[in-house]
C-alpha cells in the first residue's frame, strides 16, 4: 500500500443507508459518501464553506429548522383565508448538480447577494478554490486495486457541498419564485426539502 500511496492519503468512499429504500440485491439503497478528512482539498473546501455558507444561509428561502417553519406558518396565514400547504423534495440533488452550473450559481450568488462584500479579485479567488474542490475528488476504495475520480456533480461528504447545493437551488429557483410571487405566501427549503404555502387554486399548483 505504501508504495502505491507513498504517504499521501486519498478519501475512501463508503455507503450510507437510505432508510426508505428496501435493499434489493444489485440495486442502490444508499448514498455514497466520500469522507473528506483524508482529502488534500479539505482545507480548500473548509475555506469555501467558511466564506460563503453563512451568507447563503441568510437567504430568505433557507429554512434553519422545523421550529422556524412552524413559526413562519403561524405568522403568514391570515385568519379565514384558504390556502394550500405543500411539501416537495428535490430528487438526487447532489448527483444532479452540474459542476459548471454550480460555479455559475456561486458566481451569481456573490454578485447579487453579498452586498459588494467580495471585490472582483476575491470572487475569482473563491471560484478557483471551488473549482479545485469540485474537480479534485479522487478516492481509493480498499476493496479494489484501482483509483477513482469523481467526474461530475459535488461529492457527498465534502463540507462545501451543502453551501453549493443551497446556492445551486437558489439559482434555479430565482425566476420561478418571481413569476409565482403573488401566489406564494411561504417558500422555505431545508436543502432539498421544500415547504410551500400556496394562495391560489389547486390546478395552478399542480
Amino acid at each position: 500500500m505504501e508504495s502505491v500511496t507513498n504517504g499521501v492519503e486519498l478519501p475512501a468512499p463508503y455507503p450510507l443507508a437510505k432508510q426508505h429504500k428496501a435493499i434489493v440485491p444489485g440495486k442502490a439503497s444508499s448514498r455514497l459518501i466520500v469522507a473528506q478528512f483524508r482529502s488534500y482539498v479539505r482545507e480548500l473546501s473548509n475555506f469555501f464553506h467558511m466564506q460563503l455558507n453563512w451568507l447563503v444561509n441568510k437567504h430568505p428561502t433557507i429554512l434553519k429548522n422545523s421550529r422556524e417553519l412552524v413559526a413562519r406558518i403561524e405568522g403568514v396565514v391570515p385568519l379565514g383565508q384558504e390556502c394550500f400547504l405543500d411539501s416537495a423534495e428535490v430528487t438526487a440533488l447532489y448527483p444532479s448538480m452540474d459542476q459548471n452550473t454550480t460555479m455559475d450559481a456561486i458566481q451569481w450568488f456573490m454578485d447579487t447577494h453579498c452586498n459588494s462584500r467580495f471585490p472582483t479579485e476575491t470572487k475569482r479567488f473563491i471560484l478557483i478554490i471551488l473549482k479545485f474542490v469540485l474537480t479534485e475528488t479522487y478516492m481509493r476504495y480498499d476493496g479494489t486495486l484501482f483509483f477513482l475520480e469523481q467526474i461530475s456533480s459535488s461529492a457527498m461528504g465534502v463540507i462545501s457541498s451543502v453551501c453549493c447545493g443551497n446556492s445551486y437551488l437558489q439559482y434555479c429557483e430565482r425566476k420561478v419564485l418571481v413569476i409565482w410571487k403573488a401566489r406564494i405566501t411561504l417558500y422555505k427549503r431545508f436543502l432539498d426539502n421544500v415547504a410551500l404555502q400556496w394562495k391560489g387554486t389547486l390546478l395552478e399548483l399542480v
Binding site: 502505491v4 500511496t5 507513498n6 504517504g7 499521501v8 492519503e9 486519498l10 468512499p13 463508503y14 455507503p15 450510507l16 443507508a17 437510505k18 432508510q19 426508505h20 428496501a22 435493499i23 440485491p25 444489485g26 440495486k27 442502490a28 439503497s29 444508499s30 455514497l32 488534500y40 482539498v41 482545507e43 480548500l44 475555506f47 422545523s66 421550529r67 412552524v70 406558518i73 403561524e74 396565514v77 391570515p78 385568519l79 448527483p95 479579485e121 476575491t122 475569482r124 479567488f125 478557483i128 478554490i129 479545485f132 479534485e136 479522487y138 481509493r140 476504495y141 476493496g143 479494489t144 484501482f146 483509483f147 477513482l148 475520480e149 469523481q150 467526474i151 461530475s152 456533480s153
Partner: protein, 132 residues
Amino acid sequence: MYFKGLEKWVNFFRKEQRAKMLNATDMQMARANLPSESYMVNLFHFLAEAGIHLVKTDKNAGSLAWSRELHHEQTMIHLNDANTYQRIEFHSDGSPITARKIFEDFILRFDKEMAECTKDLPGLIIAARKLR
C-alpha cells in the same frame, strides 16, 4: 391561531421520530440479517431512547449495521456508475497512478492558478499560502 395544535407539533414530531428511529434500527438489522441482540443495536436503541438525534437511523445506524458484503456491494454499485466515477490507472504521462503523483499534479496546478490570481494582492497571497 389558524392551525390548531401547531404549538404542540414539535413535541409530537420528536416522539414520532424517536419511535421511527427505534423501528428503523430493527428493520435495518433484520434486512442485514444480523443478530438482533448485538452491541450496535443496543447502542442505537439507547441513544434513540435518550432522544439523541445525532445518530439517526436513516442516516447512520442503518449502514453501520450492514454486513461487510453488503457494504462492498453497495459501494461498488455506486462506483460502477461511469457517468459519475471514472477509474484511473495511469497518469497523462503514461506512468502508473499513485496518490503521491495525483497530489503533486494538484500542487503544480494550484500554485500556477494561485500565482495568476493573487498577483500583487498580499491578502490573497497569504490566503493561498495557508490553503496550500
